[in-house]
Amino acid sequence: MKVPLIALLSGIIFGFGLSISEMINPTRVLGFLDVAGNWDATLLLVMCGALAVAFAGFTWVLKRPHPLFTDKFSLPTRKQIDTPLVIGSAIFGVGWGLAGFCPGPAITALATLSPSVLLFVLAMLAGQWLAASFIK
């Protein structure tokens, strides 16, 4: 029962961070991606804040033998830069540029009860399911 509670707490802090930094607002995100227009620096600052903290924290945490409440770190095992990584990331970027939503902010923005956000999240789930069937 400990892991779900930790996940809930982590999710709450993550969602609060995405909300206060306005990353749940697609207009902010599209403003960052619009380098030829009125460029918005918000996303860059959010990334810098997140990376500064995460880099220091991860470096320290990953030197421990195991996490506090489980017996091992579940880290990605693949090391190679392969075709699925490149093609998948390219496709993701196109969708991200079309709507200004990536998975975290879209789910967090469900808090507004907007039908459009729900439509995006459902389409995203369908896309995930399609890719999972495509890979197999």
Partner: protein, 141 residues
């Protein structure tokens, strides 16, 4: 004219995202990659692996609600609608699954581990995102 940026909220919000990722890794050994957490819920088959994923995603929404109560109303100004929004959702879901991650998993957690895969993925999705916005806004396809 550049849009107004709330530097304090952006940096502290980013720092909180970092803190949340550290907590999940240090206490539970998991990576806070949201497309991956969602993916395991959609197509996962491992018993007992679903509850923590659901808890994290519910937490995201609760975090937004707390922010709206403590800080102020949430602003979500969508610029895409209808079929464009639907297509965008499909591409984001498909792409993050195929590419094993999104802005949180690759962009924050992966780069923080200095993973070459994540650094590559992040450079690619930021680039195709910028090209897409350029085509939509300045060439108006």
């Amino acid at each position: 004219m550049m849009p107004e940026v709330n530097v304090v909220n952006a940096l502290s919000g980013g720092a909180l995202i970092g803190v949340a990722s550290i907590l999940l890794l240090a206490l539970a050994g998991r990576i806070a990659g949201i497309s991956g957490i969602l993916g395991g819920l959609v197509t996962g088959s491992i018993a007992g692996d679903r509850l923590w994923r659901l808890a994290f995603l519910v937490g995201l929404v609760i975090g937004a609600v707390i922010c709206s109560l403590v800080v102020g109303p949430l602003r979500v100004q969508l610029q895409a609608e209808g079929w464009q929004l639907l297509l965008a959702g499909l591409l984001v879901g498909f792409g993050t699954r195929l590419g094993s991650g999104c802005t949180s998993g690759h962009g924050v957690c992966g780069i923080a581990r200095l993973s070459p895969r994540s650094i590559t993925a992040t450079l690619i999705f930021i680039s195709t995102g910028m090209v897409t916005v350029y085509l939509v806004r300045h060439i108006s396809l």
